[in-house]
Amino acid sequence: MKVRKLDKSYHIYGRFQPMRSFKYLIVTALVLMYASVYASGEVQTDFIRSIGKIYVVAGVCLVILIALFVYMYQIDRKISRLEKRYKNE
């Protein structure tokens, strides 16, 4: 419980937001996975360059799609927060 109080998952309103800490967790996990995979060096480059380097294209597409989805998701959250505020007024 101590850890939860220390991180920023408590919103200014004091409400606990599980989604937020969940997101941090996922990002950290991804970064760690990426780091550990890249630590193994050669193997990874061989995999990514196999079958005519098709995985480079896969990586590029994934980067674009993930980034766009995250961005849209954030806009969506912003809008729903605004909607809530309108309802309350």
Partner: protein, 334 residues
């Protein structure tokens, strides 16, 4: 959306033309018979086995034809050449390109496939074995396929994802510069919101363009960042726009924010043009069209690729405008 869906499907599913991945050995001495083992990509060598022809090209149309071509399987064949001990030109080493022609696969080329070191004993008469042949009567691959480029291979598909992002970014920044100009003429705060929404999405696209470019570069140019002019200049351009967002965040007064942003934004766009269009054209670059116009022609972007590339450009531009509309509306709701 439909355009982008089409781009993602076609960009992924259309196969590449057959190509040559590898040739062993890579080096040989002149005046000997060389057995080349050829590894193909997407090739169908076993179809019409007797019809495969092979040449080694020295320069221009100076070639020698293979004495024998033997097909092992769809992806492998061996061809034997007698490399003449004398060459029409005198060099320290002779890089030769391998050309293959197949009835259904069409022609494929591997540049600098074989390096020849000069023979110790040279028979000048053998220079006549090289003959001038434009390598005509070759076959054309039929069907819809993307070109096979040697270092790029499948990553040529990135042309549909990496390049349109930059096109879209330039359009977004351009439209935002237009709104800034309108703000100076009219002064409605609403125009400022439009400007900022466009710049935000433009920045997102720009950063995505950089990241995808780095991933692509790591696997083709062997480094995430090779200090290429275009890489540097686009990074500078993005930093200029990022600095604008920082400046906005540091200001309290909304009117002041809008006024400074409008001025800054127009200058930023004016800087973007030399940074992205002029400076990269003046020096050497790893990007296509080094020191000249981007090579939107030939093998880098043939007509099959255009069928996917132009919809991709339009699709990404529309996507960018749509997202910035959403951003603008949310800002306005606030």
């Amino acid at each position: 959306m439909i355009l982008l869906l089409y781009v993602f499907i076609a960009g992924w599913l259309v196969p590449l033309k057959p190509g040559i991945i590898q040739v062993t050995p890579e080096r040989a001495e002149a005046g000997q018979i060389v057995e080349l083992e050829v590894t193909g990509y997407n090739s169908n060598y076993t179809k019409d086995q007797g019809e495969v022809r092979a040449w080694l090209r020295l320069a221009g149309d100076t070639v020698i034809q293979a004495r024998e071509v033997q097909v092992m399987d769809d992806r492998h064949l061996t061809c034997s050449f007698y490399i003449p001990s004398a060459f029409p030109v005198r060099q320290e080493a002779y890089p030769l390109s391998l050309i293959l022609d197949h009835t259904s696969d069409g022609t494929s080329v591997l540049p600098n496939a074989l390096f020849i070191t000069p023979a110790k004993v040279q028979d000048e008469n053998e220079a006549a074995l090289w003959f001038s042949d434009k390598v005509t009567s070759v076959h054309e691959q039929s069907g819809i396929r993307f070109p096979f480029r040697n270092i790029l291979s499948e990553t040529i598909r990135n042309t549909y994802f990496h390049v349109p992002l930059w096109f879209a970014m330039i359009i977004l920044f351009g439209v935002s510069a237009w709104y800034s100009l309108q703000y100076y003429r009219g002064g409605q705060i609403d125009l400022d919101r439009k400007t900022v929404a466009l710049v935000k999405v433009g920045l997102l696209f720009g950063v995505l363009g950089l990241v995808t470019g780095m991933l692509w570069a790591k696997n083709t140019w062997n480094a995430y960042w090779s200090w290429d002019v275009k890489q540097n200049m686009s990074a500078i351009a993005l930093l200029i726009y990022a600095a604008m967002m920082v400046m906005r965040a540091s200001l309290e007064d909304d009117m002041q924010k809008a006024r400074l942003t409008a001025g800054y934004n127009m200058f930023a766009f004016a800087l973007l043009i030399p940074l992205l269009f002029i400076i990269p054209r003046m020096t050497d670059s790893l990007h296509p069209g080094s020191g000249g116009n981007p090579a939107f022609g030939g093998e880098d972007l043939d007509n099959t690729m255009r069928m996917v590339f132009y919809p991709a450009v339009i699709g990404f531009i529309l996507l960018g405008l749509w997202i910035s509309q959403l951003v603008y509306r949310t800002e306005k709701l606030k």
